[in-house]
Amino acid sequence: MNDVSPSARRNWMSTLSTSAPGRLAALLPDLPDHALLRSPEIGAVMVRGRAGATGAAFNLGEMTVTRCSVRLQDGVVGHAWVQGRDKDHARRAAVVDGLMQTDRADYIRQTILAPLAAEALAARRSRAEKAAATKVDFFTMVRGEDR
């Protein structure tokens, strides 16, 4: 088991939690042997906001999440919290979290996490570029009395 920094682990867990279940399954169709420490469980997270964007917290509403914990054959434990209600996705994400703490980390990063992160970035950029095209360029009309 390799040492992992919390910030690196945060990053890959978030990449996994927001990835499309179908994409992760396509990138990792076969899972290595593992035991379920906590079977995939669907639940809700209460999302909070702040009054006036910066003020006191309030409860905005819930979102669905699925969590799962696994133990790989070499004893490494992987956790996942993913958005939505896909149990296979949560299990697969937990296995990837486990594998990222093993010697296979580089391979998993290159073949699974990097493509997922790149696709998420491209999707975000595409929306940002469409939004940018709708930015208003004001120009001032010349009025009669200015002539």
């Binding site: 945060r10 906001g49 003020g55």
Partner: protein, 362 residues
């Protein structure tokens, strides 16, 4: 009064079978799939998520299909499902300043950092029916332009730098949750915001409109309206640190309202706030107007008796599942109640008739 009555099972069963057939409609027309509703009826899906108070586009789309497009029925289905879910955690408050904005407009400043971004809006359309959508026409392709990945600052943020607007001071006090404890009045602002964001869009819209027409006027400008995605971050107990576990689309509206001042404080603008799941612009604007109207007491304004200022009136009536439940229950059997009313009316009529006869005889 309710008494148990048996019978009607067969009629109920057959009614539900017919409901299923009617839901499907003409079998010669292809059936709607849940992904089709999710993708092409997105604003209905957003409304069901907001008022159902559960962010899950697939479930909201399923609820709309099951409810035959009756959005309040769909909200009811989502609320019922929600109660079956264990609450795993609460998130850190979302940072709307870090929102990836699809749309961001200000009615108070023409030129502002980050610019006016229209996004995929109905504004400036002519509201003429587009018959091309009845045919299988080609879809126009969105245009792209180079984007800068900068954080888009809040308008109220730079008004605040000059002290021109009241501060929304950060606090991490645990907010009350009306899904866990019964609502108690007077409510604090956090509880009001929770009730409003899941409140019925039509009800909140009507109240907001009433403030504009003079019933609790607040002189609101839309300082800023933004729509986009934010990340949701949760502390994961098994790890001991927080992880971004999801992305949700939100609409946020901040109003800049007429000022207050005092002997110790110079005049400054006040604020109303709306934050709603999904692209829900009308609701977010309405919510911010009603939020501001409800703040009359805290801001030292007069209570004019306007409905939008009346916390009990607003909070106890804005939930469409509660309202529907109580409204529609009167269509269910009340045979015994009605029998007693019927007997009472008959007796009263008999007494009146007897009195009239006696009078005639005298």
């Amino acid at each position: 009064m309710y008494v148990a009555v048996k019978g009607g099972e067969r009629a109920i069963d057959n009614a539900h079978a017919w409901l299923a057939e009617e839901r499907r409609g003409d079998p010669a027309v292809p059936e709607l799939s849940v992904p089709q509703i999710r993708e092409q009826m997105a604003l209905a899906v957003n409304r069901v998520m907001a008022e159902g108070s559960l962010y899950d586009p697939d479930l909201a789309a399923l609820a709309i299909k099951q409810a035959r497009g009756d959005l309040i029925e769909a909200v009811f289905l989502i609320r019922a499902y929600r109660t079956t879910l264990p609450r795993l955690a609460a998130s850190a408050p979302v940072d709307t300043g870090a929102m990836a904005v699809d749309r961001r407009i200000s009615a108070t400043f023409k030129d502002l950092p980050g610019g006016q971004v229209l996004g995929p809006t109905f504004d400036y359309t002519h509201r003429l029916l587009d018959f091309a959508l009845m045919a299988e026409g080609e879809v126009r392709v969105a245009v792209s332009a180079p984007a800068t990945p900068d954080r888009v600052p809040h308008v109220t943020g730079f008004l605040n730098q000059d002290g021109l607007i009241e501060e929304a001071a950060s606090s991490d006090a645990l907010p009350p949750d009306l899904t866990r404890e019964p609502m108690e009045l007077p409510a604090d602002r956090a509880l009001r915001l929770q009730a409003l964001t899941r409140g019925d869009e039509g009800f909140v819209l009507g109240l907001a409109y009433s403030t504009q027409r003079g019933y609790g006027r607040t002189h609101a400008f839309v300082g800023e309206l933004r729509i986009g995605t934010v990340t949701v971050e949760v502390d994961i107990p098994e790890l001991g640190f927080s992880v971004e576990i999801g992305e949700i689309e939100l609409t946020e509206c901040e109003t800049v309202n007429q000022f207050k001042g005092s002997r110790t404080e110079p005049p400054q603008f006040t604020r109303g706030y709306g934050l709603v799941f999904g692209q829900s612009e009308r609701k977010a604007i309405a919510m911010s107007l009603v939020d501001r109207a409800l703040r009359w007491n805290e801001l030292g304004e007069d209570f004019t008796g306007a409905p939008a200022q009346d916390e009990e009136f607003v909070l106890m009536h804005c939930d469409n599942v509660q309202a529907t439940g109580f409204l529609e229950h009167i269509k269910l059997p009340h045979y015994v109640d009605f029998q007693s009313e019927l007997e009472l009316v008959r007796r009263l009529r008999a007494e009146v008739a007897a009195a009239a006869r006696q009078e005639a005889a005298e």
